[in-house]
Amino acid sequence: MMQIKLKGLEKTQQFLVQLPKSMNKEIMQVSDTFMRSTQKSAKLRAPRLTGRLADSIEFKKIKNQILLIVNSPYGYFQEYGFTPHFIHSDMSDRMGGTVGGLFGRFNSFFWVAKHKPFIQPALEQNLSNLPNLLSQGTKKAIKQAGG
């Protein structure tokens, strides 16, 4: 008579139950690190005349989502560009003042043509490090689950 005995099934079962939980936790941790890093890179790349655009790049965690938000009204145009145009110095700077007030020039027109993307380059820079972060997170998750 032959008897086959399997040992460690209980541990394997426990591991399989624990793994999704620890994986979820570690992936959130990695996402957090990645987004914070991207936020820093974006802040560094953002044009800074007043500093409001850089200041408006925020990071929010909502349940299982991590959001990078650009709150400034001109953030979109800096990122994606716009048709070159003239603006009058009396126009609002959307901060309670006028465009002319920002530059100390009144009763004149300004030619605006340049934009500087800051989110896309920041993402590109940080995406290169994401596989490393995910790999580290996965290893940690497996270890935590008892693997």
Binding site: D32, L44, R45, R48, G51, A54, D55, P121, Q125, N129
Partner: protein, 154 residues
């Protein structure tokens, strides 16, 4: 500053901030010295386009989460990030080495005096960006830690 349940974030931040006051300058291969110009808790949102403003050392506030440790204790799992912004890649590397060494040699005190254990270097990162005429090099290091406290049983 002592670290307690009610002051985990501020306590850790202050301890790390105070510890890193010993990282002041590094000597580059051309024998020139680079000294920290600004030591802060967050990267400034203005005035960053002048070489004289650098190096900037940023000690970020720690991020934490809780998990059950025993029936009566909880464990804080967290990370703190330290960034160095310089205008020379070499000085960024040298500062990062000095920062990591400073934290490493402080691990025993953190553990024995403040209860901050398993302080380990999780990862480092590099970034560089052109701002006008200057190139800014950023090096970051992320440390993880654990801290246990007695939970309130109602």
């Amino acid at each position: 500053m002592a670290i307690s349940k009610s002051s985990v974030i501020s306590g850790i931040f202050e301890n790390i901030y105070d510890r890193l006051t010993n990282v002041t300058s590094v000597t580059l291969s051309d024998a020139s010295t680079s000294s920290i110009q600004t030591r802060t808790g967050a990267f400034p949102d203005k005035d960053i386009d002048e070489t004289s403003k650098y190096p900037i050392l940023v000690i970020n506030s720690p991020d934490i989460s809780w998990e059950e440790f025993t029936l009566t204790k909880k464990q804080v799992m967290g990370t703190f990030t330290i960034d160095i912004y310089t205008t020379k890649a070499e000085s960024a590397d040298l500062f990062l080495d000095a920062i990591i060494n400073s934290i490493e040699t402080y691990r025993a005190t953190l553990g024995n005096t403040y209860g901050l254990v398993f302080v380990n270097l999780d990862s480092t990162a590099y970034d560089s960006v052109m701002r006008g005429k200057i190139k800014i090099h950023v090096r970051s290091c992320i440390f993880s830690f654990r801290y246990k406290f007695t939970k309130t049983l109602s």
